[in-house]
Amino acid sequence: MTLRLGRREFADDATLMMAIVNRTPDSFYDKGATWAEGKAFDRIARVVEQGAEIVDIGGIKAAPGAEIDVAEEKRRVVDFVAKVRASYPDLVISVDTWRAEVARAVCEAGADVINDAWGGADPGLVDVAAEFGAAIVCTHTGGVTPRTRPHRREYDDVVAAVLSDTVAYAERAVAAGVDRRSVVIDPAHDFGKNTFHSLELTRRLDEMVATGWPVLVSLSNKDFVGETLDLPVGERLTGTLATTAICALAGARIYRVHEVVETRQVVDMVSSIAGRRLPARAIRGLA
């Protein structure tokens, strides 16, 4: 099915890079590198040049920390979205927020996608997406409160839980009036999950793809990679890319990433191995 992300449509075999742009002073990976608006804007320019189709702008880090109220979250992202929209009319702009009020403000400023990393914690989010013709990312968190870490969380079958929740969320979005082509599901590695859960989700990602909803994966430098390889943040790229390759083979469509170039190469290579993408230019043995 064609994927419609606000103002842009993508063919059903297209894979997309969603570059993370943090408007936060404290996100785990970049530690505030793009907290200043100028730096964040420079990052947008760089990832666009690197070929990212989507930017995902976030004003609140996922981990627990200082309370960021609606007003402060809006201060961090709304004007910035408007500025990016003015400079990049065709770029797909996603905003990482769970709050309907923030979603409304960024959609008015030109956002195309609401990336709800917290699994529908605010039930009004789907209505905002429907009203503005925006796309929505339906994640699984197991019903946890936003910005909390998993503690002794267990599932009878983590994949079954993820499938059930994300598909239900997707159907709820469609029922609220969101275009069926504008709904994406995301297993949300590490959210409400321990490392064993995230590994199993990766191993069984084909079951998510089989639902027919386009699948987004957000793997970049996460703790399940760090715990699996016993590596700190900053040394997880190889593990991230190995995980990316497995998800690409299963047929994930959107990759939320810190490193655009490396991820694009892995996804293209795997897509060609899977027979879903032609080689760039093959002549060896064929001249």
């Binding site: 032609l278 002549i283 001249a287």
Partner: protein
């Protein structure tokens, strides 16, 4: 009589397609030539097994078709040496240039007799895939002239649409219009 010559490169086949066509210019010329030869009816193909696969594909692309019967429209699928450089499939053999030049001259001048007597042994050493098809073309045109009992040879108007060796293999796209 219409005759088209196109290369026998497998890169022309759809199962070997790339995002960026490595032979875009050659393919475009080949398709034009095949369209020209196939425009008024079925085409007799002179080629080896690989060449027949290439012919079927190119004919399909232009809505043409092949026939087993001899006729007035002939598609020759053949190319020159694959030993035309250090990076060529068969590495470099300096003799390739002279051998290919002789074929190229014959194609450019409509010289069927020269094609009919190409040396198969040297051609095999030089990885010239097209020798049998070129020889068959030469014999066909010479024979055709004899049948017509013309005083001289068939008059051949030759157009060379493509002549290059981008990957160390010599390709030609040529159209011959033969009149008695």
């Amino acid at each position: 009589m219409r005759i088209a010559v196109v290369p026998s490169a497998p890169v022309l086949l759809p199962q070997y397609a790339s995002l960026t066509d490595p032979v875009a210019e050659m393919r475009a010329a080949a398709l034009d030539a095949v369209r020209w030869v196939a425009s008024e009816g079925p085409v007799t193909v002179l080629a080896d097994d690989l060449g027949h696969r290439v012919a079927r594909h190119l004919l399909g692309e232009v809505g043409g078709r092949a026939t087993d019967e001899p006729g007035e429209r002939v598609l020759v699928v053949a190319d020159g040496s694959a030993r035309r450089g250090e990076k060529a499939p068969g590495h470099l053999d300096e003799r390739a240039f002279g051998y290919d030049a002789a074929i190229g001259d014959a194609l450019r001048q409509g010289d069927a007799k020269a094609l009919a007597v190409l040396d198969p042994e040297l051609g095999a050493q030089l990885l010239v895939g097209g020798v049998p098809a070129f020889r068959a073309l030469g014999e066909l045109v010479v024979h055709h002239g004899d049948l017509r009992q013309t005083a001289g040879d068939l008059r051949v108007r030759a157009d060379v649409d493509y002549d290059a060796d981008p990957y160390g293999v010599q390709y030609w796209v040529v159209r011959w219009q033969c009149d008695s």
